[in-house]
Amino acid sequence: MRQSLFLHGLLGGLFVAGLCIAIWQSASPGKRSLTALRVNAIALTLLVTIKDVLGDVVYTAYRENVPDSARSLILASSKPWAHEILMEFKEHAAHVLPAMLLVVVAIVFVYDIRDRENLTARKVAVSILAVSLVLTLVILFMGAMATSVAGVK
């Protein structure tokens, strides 16, 4: 389970890096081929889906109904809010990221965002990627905070 947790965190970090690259690729596409952006968008969608599935696997260990599960330890600690607020938000928020990335995939495959006439589509793609990045950073922070109180065994 620790390996799944490690991989989950690692993929989260990779996802953040990929989002930063995608934001740069879509904000200033110049005259470059869109292939790299399109491949990146698909890769990010797959990456976040795998990360979420791994997170769900870890989640089952986190919420085991035993006294020494991470959830039980957090609720019994002086910081129950680490579960009641942070984990409750994180476990739901993470699952909307694949849907948001699919919107970006649709945009970059349908519209040639290099063209000035498709400026709206370009801005929409960049904004969705930016919001996804902010949400991911919030989720990563919440996960780190919760783990600092009691980690999954």
């Binding site: 769900d56 919420r63 849907a99 699919l102 495959f109 349908v110 589509a121 929409v124 969705i128 919001v131």
Partner: protein, 142 residues
Amino acid sequence: MDKEPQEHTEVVEQADAERRRDVGEVTAEGSRGADEAEGSRGASVVIATMIAASVVILSIGILAFISELSEGFKSFFVVWDTMGPLSGHVLFAYGLGILVFLLLFRVRAVGRQSIFAWTIVLFITLAVSSLFWLTPFVDLFH
């Protein structure tokens, strides 16, 4: 005498532009911008994806909110015991999103919608659902 080849070229170019619009290629030549790519199949796919994503996000939010207020509702959505009601929330939300996409992506009228407007809707659903995932907000309704 020079007009015939020119007319033929114009007819071929017009047919090609119509074909490209029909398959959703929105380019600088002859296009009118993302918000105005009316009726193209590609635009329908994009807007349908945005609507479906909004449905997924809002569904996860509403289901989480109602589950916190009703134990019966919460236990109804437990698909896998080890994962709890979250399993049902995610499955139901994405199932509904896929259904919405399949219903809308081939509808031409959907492609005439504003991509900007649906982006605002997407962000509003994310903000509303974020509130539903925050325990202090949900506790106001207990």
